[in-house]
Amino acid sequence: MQAATDVMTAEHSFPRQEQLVEERLVLWYFVAALTFMTVSMLAGILMGLQLLRHNPLPPIEVLSPGRWRMIHTNAIAYGFLANAFLGIMHWVVPRLTLRPVFSRPLSYLIFFAWQFVVLATAVGLMFGQAQGLEWGETPVWIDPVAQLGLLLVAINFGTPILQTRGPMYVTLWYYLAALVWTFLTYAMGNFVPEYFVCGSSAGAVGGLFIHDLVGLFVTPLGWGMMYYFVPILLKRPIWSHGLSLVGFWGLAFFYPLQGIHHFLYTPIPMFLQYGAVLSTIALELVVVTVIINFIGTLYGTGGACLTNLPLRYFYTGILFYFLTCLQCALQVTMTFQALIHFTDWVVGHAHMVMFGVFSLWQLGVMTYLIPRILKTEWYNPAWCEWHYWASAGGLLVMAGDLILGGLFQGWSWAALHPWETSIHLSIPFWSVRIVAGLVMFAAQLLFIVHFYLTWRKSLQTAPAVVPAAGLATA
């Protein structure tokens, strides 16, 4: 790969960054992502306050915490994670393939279409049009639009990837597979259990959907991103290509087989439940190989992940990834399930995955890319540190608190205490959770303000930059 790049540079066939990457669009995606992050966190705080019986809003239909709880999860998955991934792919894919995306106008069309999909979902949920599957709540009439949008995304990014000749870098394996998986997963979850099958079978498909949405949409896009940015920041290749192969193919094979582990002890046939449990434990072994590969890549860099902030985001996420997967392998056993299913343990686990791993990774990439795109340093680099510590620290407290609280809820239920007891004993845990949530929220607000100030700063210096760029092209 290195040799090939050298040859291409020597022949002056290296396309210029402006020809490859639509940088403005990357920034737009980040703005959209952070906007929906704010919406999602506000919704989460609302539900958190409702549980503590301190909901400040009047009991009005469109402000109902039950509806906003669905906006919380949908806005984070489709509004924050998806937008941030799309923005990052607009940076990564053209730079790795040395080809622009299929069509720039299409890129802009997708951007606006996707914002429409997310906004319409939120409005639909506010007006009570949800469908009954987690992350598949998207109102009926939006499903085909979103499905079409995913097809366009696959065409737009798939074309440059398919045009490359010779061996593909690891990131592109993950991206290429994710483009196929996301389309298939969305189609499966939003149509099959709604229209074609009911009951336990719908539960099996629904479990597959909520699992694949994390495993086949978020996870491959996330790891693809790590395989790209970590070697660049460390200026050294990934430690073992063989382990990269094991990681990708292990994930591809074992991840989709586990959907039913979300519904253990349901009427879904027991042998299918055991199958899901076994493949979950198998995947944990694959995850260990990926972690070893990234530790191996880091080994001997002299604490780079402490001094380099984006890198610190990445390795914090990798640490949380190891913890969540270890947790998966334990909590998926029937013994553990009997205690922790239906409790806040699961909520803590979900937050550790979605925020502790993937959101932190994306925030790390944003911290790295925004100054590069704006061609100016961060307005105040110390604020980036605050953003990191409040995000990662807040998440650690929130996840730890909910996981612990879940154990107490489970024990209370098994002991046949009156139901109210499990609510009362949750109050301290829910109180800590809301404080941690507010800290995380404050951190994101700081980041947004910081982004704005940096952007404004870059505009003030812009006149000096533009003529220079004009000279260079002339």
């Binding site: 409702q50 009991p59 009570g128 593909m168 099958v197 959907g259 009427p267």
Partner: protein, 228 residues
Amino acid sequence: MFERKSGIILIAGIGFFALAFLSNAVVPVLMYRHLPEQTAEQLVNGNLRYQFEDLAQRFPQAFETAYGQPPADPEKAGRWYDEHCASALKLGHQIYVGEGCWHCHSQFVRPVSNEDRRWGPVSKSWEYQNELQRPVMFGTRRVGPDLSREGGRRSSDWHAVHFFEPEALSQKSPMPRYPWLFDGSPDKPNIRGLALITYIQWLGSWHETYPYYEDYTAVPIKTAAAAE
């Protein structure tokens, strides 16, 4: 194969996905093909009809505003109640989904953690083979109790007050209030309120243990015969 586009798209992308769909989704679909999906009309049973007519007694004005007057002829009136009961079930289900009730209340009793002693018989697949379980309302979190054996456990006016103001009946309940299901006071549920109460009263109404789910012990045939 492992690093080629065709391998990644065809084997990992489509092949493994299809394998998982076949083994995890098509298998249960085939296993339950002898249990056809029931419509809402087929789900109206005696227990539920009793509760629905009970709504007409308790909230006569609200009921009349929502559904009008039943026909005088008893046979026609029976069919009239059945039809409206089925439509109330469907609307109630829609509200249950749209309000996100299923994010805090589960609908399945597990064979562990003493759940059968708290709620009654462990859930079976046949209970879910109907259009109101498409998608299935298993749920993933219990802030409030499981609801799959809630029907008949409490009276409809308890539910009305509880939806209007949960804390009036369950002290320090974190459940939100749902005043938009009423015309101003708990004794005036609107069509949506009546529908949601109907849906809740349906949950478990198909069970032989209704409504004393957890106290019920099936009598072995021999013991019953000896007693006679």
